[in-house]
């Protein structure tokens, strides 16, 4: 045992020496400037431009800093980050993190900087609610840039064409809308099953509506899905499938990549609605033919389920936050505080067509659908994170896959729960 720990210490020491000798991702570059490497997931358009602009503005103020923005495709982000974080010399100093178990994993591995005492007053006061998502055991490990409540996004034109005058509020109204759209020859629902999580979001929402708040929170923390509301949510998925409202080939449709992705279908009026988070307007904009905002994009809250024990105003939401690597220089923290200022939060909201995390920047939201979202968000009885984020990659992936399986006609609600338990034993 002693020998083992001595050995471990030697290895650890050697690693540290090796890393510092190498310089690595952070540190000083050839011009003597401090380099800050940032990983974010906007590979195109205004989102990418926002980061470049912010970096340039910060560099103009701080001559000795070189901000290096690297765009990683969203579906690759988790995997790449995971491998890169193991090695400070290749890891980014600042990176996208989404809270939940995923954040907890990296916190426990000591790879994220504790920001509790480092965040600015702006962050502390204006982002108070959103900070919950990045708080682990009372300490702040990231700064949210946007809050992303989920719901159903739809094309007003297509709804009108199908003779739907009011957005559905209950499940029956929803089923009715799907039928009307089908009768009008319109694909009712776009679904990007290839990435698994878009399909799983349906299950999360059904569970949120079927489970009481306490049952939902309990399962989120102890990973036991004994309450029958979880099976009921599975049955709801079954009912959804029976409506036969998805696009053809939804299993191999990706969520955001290209005109044939589910978001692309909505953007090009080839499907009438999609269940998504608050990033949808920005994603859809990049996929419209002229890359402009989709003019007739609308939003409504997820319908009420009859007999469900959950509060019908409860919502699921995500938050895109930036965390700082434990090895990062002070300049990385400065940059994070810089982009959290009102001015840049407003620009962020504009660039990503989303809701900024800072309250004082939320007035900048001009998009009509997003204003609708804000209303739902402000009235929500509770805000929960996406379940796969809450559970972490291991169990989260298994849950997502279980739902996809069910949608493909393989397995039932019980199998979802079984899959989750099997995954828990692997990690």
């Amino acid at each position: 045992m002693r020998v083992k720990s001595v050995f471990a210490a030697v290895v650890a020491a050697a690693t540290v020496v090796g890393v510092s000798a190498c310089g690595g991702g952070s540190g000083t570059n050839a011009d003597g400037k401090t380099e800050v490497v940032v990983w974010m997931n906007s590979t195109t358009g205004d989102g990418k431009k926002f980061w470049d602009d912010a970096a340039a503005a910060f560099e103009a103020k701080h001559q000795n800093v070189d901000i290096k923005i690297e765009a990683i495709q969203n579906e690759d982000m988790d995997g790449k980050l995971q491998t890169a974080l193991q090695d400070p010399s290749s890891a980014p100093d600042m990176f996208l993190a989404r809270g939940g178990q995923k954040l907890r994993d990296v916190v426990e591995a000591g790879q994220v900087m504790d920001l509790t005492d480092k965040i600015s007053d702006q962050v502390k006061t204006q982002m108070k609610t959103a900070l919950d998502t990045t708080t682990v055991d009372g300490k702040v490990y990231g700064v949210p840039q946007s809050v992303l409540p989920g719901g159903i996004w739809y094309s007003k034109d297509l709804f009108k064409k199908a003779g739907i005058n009011e957005t559905p509020k209950t499940w029956d109204e929803f089923a009715d809308a799907v039928k009307k759209l089908k009768d009008a020859g319109i694909t009712p629902i776009a679904l990007g099953g290839k990435d698994a999580w878009p399909a799983a979001h349906w299950y999360y929402w059904f569970a949120l509506r079927e489970c009481s708040q306490s049952a939902f929170d309990e399962a989120s923390s102890d990973l036991k899905f004994t309450n029958e509301c979880w099976v009921k949510a599975g049955d709801d998925v079954k009912n959804l499938i029976d409506l036969d409202g998805f696009n053809d080939g939804f299993l191999t449709t990706s969520a955001q990549q290209g005109a044939s992705s589910s978001a692309g279908l909505l953007a090009n009026h080839m499907a009438a609605m999609e269940l998504m988070g608050g990033w949808e307007p920005g994603v859809v904009r990049d996929l419209t033919p002229d890359k402009k905002d989709m003019a007739d994009l609308g939003y409504f809250a997820f319908p009420e389920m009859e007999g469900g024990e959950g509060d019908p105003t409860a919502i699921l939401a995500g938050a895109d936050s930036m965390s700082i690597g434990a090895w990062a220089p002070q300049e990385a923290v400065d940059f994070l505080n810089f982009i959290s200022e009102k001015e840049w939060q407003e620009k962020y909201a504009e660039a990503f067509v989303t809701i900024p995390a800072a309250k004082n920047a939320q007035s900048a939201v001009k998009n009509e659908a997003l204003q609708q979202v804000l209303k739902v968000y402000d009235q929500a009885s509770s805000v929960s994170l996406w379940l796969d984020t809450v559970f972490g990659q291991n169990v989260g992936n298994a849950l997502n896959e279980g739902v996809v399986n069910m949608m493909a006609g393989k397995g039932n609600a019980d199998d979802i729960v079984k899959g989750i338990e099997a995954a828990a034993s692997k990690g």
Binding site: E75, L85, G427
Partner: protein, 354 residues
């Protein structure tokens, strides 16, 4: 084989130095490759075996940040239905690849082994799918096979109803089989052509004199003499199937392959290991894949390939022995004609010599 030995070898007298010198040469020639091979191939597999005993998220070191679980990971893998399915798909692909590609490749090779103008161009063209990368093939085919893609458009023009080639779990595995066969058959054909060209023309001439027709010649000369080539190709094909990853990963994405029924052992490993953050578990899967590959390969070597592959050096020694024997009995050169029929690569030489 150290430097010191070789120095001594140089100083030593002639007769003994030969042996040392030979060893020194062997060392110089083989050590660089051995180091690379052991360092980057063997060592990682041993490391995987070590990590496989831990539950480990990939942070830090497994013995510090992970939890030792013994053979737990292996128990879970073998009882996991998704793994059993992935294994089933992989074996199915391996067997079907042999059944589909083997006969077709031999037929195509027979065709392209005819002498005719333009055959060089044709040979090059059928190799195109093999040369183009899996990423491109995957991207291209998944575009064409979309429900509203080119393939279904063509079918529609022909008055046929298209299907969902990729997502339909009943069809997906056959779609994958088709793409695999399409992509890799070029390599099989080239290999078969190469094998056929090593068969001496004289044998066919003799058969023609005996009145054998074209197919009869192929059956009794080409097939038996092509056997080593076929066995070697089959080995490479099986190993390739067991490792299949890129195509499935690109066409079906990170999650859907098990739903569509096209998951392989390798995609299972990446999904449960890297994507799910379970580096210990993923390493254990790697070890399982390795052991399965090893067992299959060894069985194949033992029962099918031993003459061609593992026994290659023995065969060489046998040939050398024969050569020496021949030296002693030069007057019995006639024997070489029988030899020629057995050992094709010496054939043309010996026949013309006699």
């Amino acid at each position: 084989m150290s430097v010191a030995t070789s120095m001594r070898a140089k100083r030593a007298g002639r007769p003994r130095s030969d042996k040392f010198r030979q060893r020194f040469e062997m060392g110089v020639l083989s050590v660089p490759a051995l180091i690379m091979f052991i360092g980057f191939v063997i060592l990682p597999v041993i490391m995987a075996a070590y990590y496989g005993f831990y539950k480990w998220k990939g942070f830090g070191k497994p013995d510090v940040n992970g939890q030792f679980v013994g053979f737990d990971n292996y128990r879970i893998i073998l009882s996991d239905p998704s793994f059993q399915q992935a294994l089933g798909h992989t074996l199915f692909i391996a067997v079907m690849s042999l059944i589909i590609q083997g006969p077709l490749a031999i037929l195509f090779a027979l065709l392209l082994n005819q002498k005719f103008k333009g055959r060089g161009l044709i040979r090059t063209l059928i190799f195109v799918p093999y040369v183009v990368s899996e990423v491109i093939i995957g991207t291209g085919w998944s575009l064409m096979l979309q429900p509203n893609g080119a393939v279904n458009a063509v079918l529609k023009n022909l008055g046929l109803q298209g299907v969902d080639w990729i997502a339909n779990p009943k069809i997906a595995i056959w779609t994958l089989m088709f793409i695999i066969s399409w992509k890799y058959i070029g390599f099989a054909v080239i290999l078969m052509i190469a094998g056929m060209q090593a068969i001496p023309e004289e044998l066919y001439e003799a058969a023609r004199v005996d009145g054998a027709g074209f197919w009869r010649q192929q059956w009794s000369i080409t097939l038996p003499l092509l056997a080593p080539t076929i066995r070697m190709w089959a080995f490479m094909s099986i190993i390739g199937s067991l490792q299949l990853f890129d195509l499935v990963y690109i066409i079906w994405g990170q999650y859907v392959s098990s739903t569509a029924g096209t998951s392989t052992m390798a995609t299972y490993m990446v999904r449960e290991g890297r994507l799910a953050n379970n580096y210990g578990y993923g390493s254990a899967v790697a070890v399982v894949i390795f052991i399965i590959s090893l067992v299959i390969a060894l069985t194949y070597q033992r029962f099918v390939l031993n003459r061609d592959l593992a026994g290659a050096t023995e065969q060489r020694e046998r040939k050398q022995y024969e050569r020496r024997a021949k030296k002693r009995e030069r007057e019995r050169m006639a024997e070489s004609e029988i030899e020629a029929a057995i050992v094709p690569n010496n054939a043309s030489m010996e026949v013309s010599a006699s």
